[in-house]
Symmetry: C2
Subunit: 196 residues, 2 copies
DNA sequence: GTTATTTCTTGCGTGCCACGCAAAGTTGCT
DNA sequence: AGCAACTTTGCGTGGCACGCAAGAAATAAC
C-alpha cells in the first residue's frame, strides 16, 4: 500500500508548517511570530495548524524529532554481529557528520534554529523532548539488537547516556567560538562515556 | 546574613503553592485544577501565583527540581579523595533510598504525583526539566570535583548519563507491579552504565 | 461516471493562561 | 515615626489550544 495522494499531501503540509515555523522563529524570535503567521506562510487556516501540531513549540522542533528518530533507524541498520559500542559509535559519528541537518533545510537556518531554541526558555522544554525522542529511538534499537527482556534497564540507560553525550557535544558545538566541527566533539563525548 | 522575615515568608509561600499544585493535580488531574484553585488553596491572588511560577506545570514540578539540586549538593559533600564513580554511586544510592521524597510531602502524594506527571502529555516537558536540573547539578559538582577546564565535555556527559540512569530506574519503579523498592533499580542502572 | 463515504479543512466560540502596568499594602532600616 | 524597598493585587490584553459542526476534497463503490 503506497501512500495515496491524500497521505502525501498531508506529509507535505506537515513538513511545510514545521519548516515555516522554524524559519520564521529564527528570523523574528519565538514571540515575534504567531501561529497565525505560520499558517499564513503555508496558505492554510490557523485552525488547521493545530490539527498538525498541538503547540507552536512542537512545530518548531518537529524536524529535529524526525531526525532523532532516524538515528534509531540507523543503529538498527548496522550489521547484527557488530559489538554494541562499536555500532553506536559508528552510527553517531555518521549521523552527526555534517551537523546533521535534515533535507531541504538550509544549514544556516538549522544552526540558528538550534541556538534560538536553546536560548529561549519557552522552548527548552520542547528541546528536551527532542532529546527524549533520540533516547527512545536508541533504546528501542538497542533492546532489539541485544534481544533483552523488557525488564532490563540496560537499553534505557545506555540510550539515555548516548543521548546525553550527543547533547553535550551539540551544546559545545553551538557555543564554540571560533566554530569547530561537530564530529570530533561527539567522538570526545562518547569516549568520556566509555571511560567512565 | 540569615534570611529575614521577608525572605522566609516568600519561601513558605512558594513551597505552599508548589505543594498545593501537586496535591490538587494528583486529586483532580492536571486539567481538573485551575491556577485560580491553587492560589485560593494558599490564600493568595491568582496574579501572585504567577509572580512565583511562570506556569502551572512549573509549580507542580518545583519540589522535584529542588530535590534534584540537592543531589548535586550531596555529591559535593563526598570526601574529596574518593574516586568519582564510587562517590556517584554512594550519593545516588543514599539519595534514592526512601523513594527520595521531599520533607513534608506525604509519600503517597509524591508517588502518585510522579505517575500523574509522566502520564500527562502536557507535563512531560516539565518533567524533562527536572531531569535536566539533576544533570546540571551533577555536572557542576563533577566539574568542581575533578577540577577540569570548562572546555571538557566529561562533566556534562557523565552527569547526563547518571541522570539517565536514575530516570530509567524511576520509570521502572513507578510501573512495577507488584511494587519493588527503588534502590536496587538505581543500583542496576548504574551498573549498566559502568559496564557499557 | 455518478454517487456514497471517508477524511481533511475551516470558522466560530470558549475557557484558560501568562504577563505588563500601576495602585495599594507590607516589611525593614534608621 | 518616617522613608525606602519590596510584594501583593486587580485589571486589562493578547494569545493559545481545542471542541464542534458545516463545507470541501479525495477515495471507494457501484
Amino acid at each position: 500500500m503506497e501512500p495515496g495522494l491524500r497521505e502525501r499531501k498531508k506529509q507535505a503540509t506537515r513538513r511545510a508548517l514545521a519548516l515555516a515555523a522554524l524559519r520564521l522563529s529564527v528570523e523574528r524570535g519565538f514571540d515575534g511570530v504567531l501561529v497565525e503567521d505560520i499558517a499564513a506562510e503555508v496558505g492554510v487556516s490557523p485552525r488547521t495548524f493545530n490539527n498538525y501540531f498541538s503547540s507552536k513549540a512542537e512545530a518548531i522542533c518537529a524536524l529535529a524529532v524526525d531526525r532523532a528518530q532516524r538515528a534509531g533507524a540507523a543503529l538498527r541498520a548496522r550489521p547484527p554481529g557488530e559489538p554494541l559500542r562499536a555500532a553506536i559509535e559508528a552510527t553517531m559519528l555518521a549521523e552527526f557528520a555534517g551537523g546533521a541537518v535534515p533535507e531541504h533545510v538550509p544549514d544556516r537556518v538549522w544552526f540558528a534554529g538550534l541556538r534560538m531554541v536553546l536560548a529561549t526558555p519557552a522552548m527548552q522544554g520542547e528541546y528536551l523532548r527532542v532529546r527524549a525522542a533520540m533516547q527512545d529511538a536508541l533504546s528501542s534499537a538497542i533492546a532489539e539488537r541485544l534481544g533483552l527482556p523488557p525488564t532490563s534497564l540496560l537499553p534505557e540507560v545506555v540510550g539515555g547516556a548516548v543521548a546525553a553525550a550527543c547533547d553535550a557535544a551539540t551544546h559545545r558545538w553551538l557555543h564554540a567560538d571560533p566554530p569547530v566541527p561537530l564530529q570530533p566533539l561527539v567522538e570526545e563525548a562518547l569516549r568520556h562515556l566509555a571511560d567512565y
